[in-house]
């Protein structure tokens, strides 16, 4: 099919004398921006919305916060109200989770427990973030001997089972006048930053050779500015994912510690304490263990799903 040598014009376009006159150039037309409206974050949000499990996880966490804050306020019972005539009640409308051996409403106690767990989650996430990011960032940024030494320390600490360190620390601080909850914070905060340090180190190592980091150096930026203003913000994706996935570990660890009696203890109602108390009556009154255990599992699932979803959404390679 030979190309047309005749000129064919669209309908409605009839060339006249004016058609072949040079067109005026619009000013500024040339340096347009493509104006693509997405940023890294809006792209990520769009992607995570498509991940049903992650969305479910997100809403469960929101529900958890709402229940933790408002639940105990709304409940007609407090976590320590005893009613010795009402002990060991199976779940009823009045006591949807039943009552325990002292007649305390389980549902209220589970809701109180969520406060503890969330507090642990948030505080440990914060400590994890602060310690891990700074440690990993400094190791990666300075490299060489500094990196070697710092990461060898991490490797050594990694080799020691975390739970043992946590138990040791809680035993150490147990009778020193530190509240048991703060004890748990310290123990978890001091041990759970290791994966974050490694991940951040890996990210910063690759980022620091990128040209924008070199450019920051050439314009005279001091080291801390380069690290905290340029490198770490660009590593936020993996950092957020790691924090989100560390939270369920922290929550579980607190529950475990309380279960074995090293964390908070009665009458404070952490899920671990509840589970511990309930275990004694597990044969006859299984619901006493069931609800706290369900709460722990559900919370952990929620954070894990959200974390996985975030990991996929924030992966720059999958960017569209």
């Amino acid at each position: 099919m030979a190309a047309p040598t005749t000129w064919q014009f669209k309908e409605g376009v009839t060339p006249d004398a004016g058609s072949f006159v040079p067109a005026p150039k619009g000013s500024g037309e040339l340096e347009q921006i493509t104006g693509r409206p997405t940023t890294y974050w809006s792209d990520a949000i769009r992607r995570i919305r498509r991940n049903k499990l992650a969305v479910v996880g997100f809403w469960i966490i929101i529900a958890l916060f709402v229940i933790a804050i408002f639940g105990p306020m709304v409940s007609p019972y407090s976590y320590e109200d005893q009613n010795l005539e009402n002990t060991f009640q199976s779940p009823t409308l009045q006591h949807p989770f039943g009552t325990d051996q002292l007649g305390r409403d389980q549902m209220t106690r589970v809701m109180y427990g969520s406060r503890i767990s969330l507090a642990v989650g948030i505080v440990c996430a914060a400590l994890n973030f602060l310690i891990g990011v700074t440690y990993g960032g400094i190791a990666a940024y300075f490299g060489g001997r500094v990196d070697d030494i710092m990461m060898r320390i991490v490797d050594i600490l990694y080799g020691i089972p975390t739970l043992i360190i946590v138990i040791l620390l809680t035993v150490l601080f147990k009778d020193k006048g530190v509240s048991p909850l703060v004890n748990v914070f310290i123990a978890i905060g001091l041990t759970y930053w290791l994966p974050m340090a490694r991940i951040v180190r890996g990210e910063i190592l690759s980022l620091k050779e990128r040209e924008f980091a070199l450019a920051a150096k050439t314009i005279g930026a001091p080291n801390n500015r380069i690290l905290f203003k340029h490198l770490i913000p660009n590593a936020m994706g993996p950092i957020i994912v790691t924090v989100t996935l560390e939270i369920p570990s922290a929550i579980f660890t607190e529950a475990f510690l309380s279960y074995i009696g090293l964390g908070v203890s009665a009458p404070v109602a952490s899920w671990g304490v509840l589970a511990s108390d309930g275990t004694e009556a597990i044969r006859s009154f299984p619901y006493l263990v069931l609800f706290p255990a369900l709460a722990i599992s559900l919370t952990m699932f929620a954070f894990n799903f959200l974390g996985d979803g975030l990991r996929d959404a924030l992966d720059p390679r999958l960017r569209q």
């Binding site: 047309p4 669209k10 376009v13 060339p15 072949f20 040079p22 067109a23 347009q32 769009r46």
Partner: protein, 356 residues
């Protein structure tokens, strides 16, 4: 045009990418004829659609988000050995539409009748397989040879592309080769099944200048010795000047100019081609005259401008250029251009050879 002379005819090929931001019109009604035993150069910048066109021919467009929306890719049926799929009548008699082939039939075409050389030899070779294995793989997979025959032929091909001690080099791994040698291996692999068409997509872009010269000289030698047609894609006008018989200039998914190589450089018929030539410094230039750039940037393919896609950047744009896209008209022997400046009513422009 005598159909016996034509190896491949791309006709009204249109490929779009459906992204969340909209539809990217990557290739728009592209029509191109590739004669047998010739070299066609496709020149274009990023976004011109040159690579997407060839990936569409090979049907390697990822789907989603890409989709070949229309057109045909007619290929010499006798060469393919698919007599039952050939067109019986009409201008494409004796040719097979590659776009209509089912997946497994197309797989038989790739590597055997049409092969491709990619830009970056560092990543195009499998690092865990020996060169020998990779070279023989294609021949054996297409049933052209047994393992031993393929091995012998591979050694011949390596010698043909100038690899010293080919027998021993067959047992080496890609990381033991330099960049230039790896590209030679890619060329040898592409030629191993004696394809009728070789598509080289920016074959020298990632190589050093002296290595690039080696590869270009090699390709010139192969052009003289072999019967395959070659399509060379490049963003560099200078590279195709030494090897192509015909050159096609693409922009925003369409052809703006197509000509015999001597005509294109001596009598360019499109402001874009002229602009490219003026904006590139020549090594043999006498003085350091200021370059004349093409103002502006390539168009956004999500929302391309109405009318001629080059008009926003064109020094000579007229009112009609903003309203309607010019058709590709013949302005000389084998020379077509897509520009209203060739219309009889259009004013004469200094430095522009107007026809018609």
């Amino acid at each position: 045009m005598n159909e016996n002379n034509i190896l491949m005819r791309i006709q009204d090929l249109t490929t779009n990418f459906h992204t969340y931001a909209g539809v990217v019109h990557a290739v728009d009604k592209m029509t191109l004829t590739v004669p047998k035993d010739s070299v066609v150069g496709i020149v274009g910048e990023s976004g011109s659609g040159k690579s997407v066109t060839m990936m569409s021919v090979m049907r390697l467009i990822p789907n989603p988000p890409g989709r070949i929306e229309g057109g045909h890719v007619w290929f010499d049926g006798a060469a393919l050995g698919m007599p039952d799929r050939m067109e019986k009548n009409g201008p494409n008699k004796g040719m097979v539409d590659l776009l209509s082939l089912p997946g497994d039939a197309m797989m038989k075409v790739r590597g055997r009748h049409i092969s491709m050389i990619f830009q970056d030899p560092m990543v195009s070779l499998n690092p865990v397989l020996t060169i020998g294995l990779q070279m023989t793989e294609s021949m054996v997979a297409h049933g052209l040879a047994t393992n031993e025959e393929a091995w012998k032929r591979a050694v011949e091909m390596l010698a043909l592309v100038g690899i010293p001690n080919p027998e021993e080099r067959m047992r080496d791994y890609p990381h033991q080769y330099s960049g230039g040698m790896r590209q030679r291996v890619m060329i040898a692999m592409a030629l191993s099944c004696s394809p009728e068409l070789v598509i080289a997509d920016e074959p020298t872009t990632s190589l050093d200048v002296t290595v690039q010269a080696q590869i270009l000289e090699l390709m010139k030698e192969l052009k003289a010795k072999l019967k395959s047609s070659i399509i060379i894609i490049s963003h560099d006008l200078s590279i195709v000047a030494g090897i192509a018989d015909k050159v096609v200039v693409m922009y925003a998914g369409r052809i703006l100019e197509e000509a015999d190589v001597y005509d294109l450089y001596e009598k360019p018929g499109h402001p874009y081609t002229m602009g490219l030539m003026k904006s590139v410094p020549r090594l043999d230039a006498e003085n350091r005259e200021r370059l004349v750039p093409i103002e502006g940037s390539p168009p956004d393919l999500l929302a391309p401008p109405v009318g001629c896609k080059f008009a926003p950047r064109c020094k000579y744009a007229m009112n009609i250029c903003r309203e309607q896209e010019p058709p590709l008209v013949t302005i000389g022997e084998g020379h077509r251009a897509r520009c209203f400046l060739h219309h009889p009513t259009a004013p004469a422009v200094p430095g522009f050879v107007k026809v018609g």
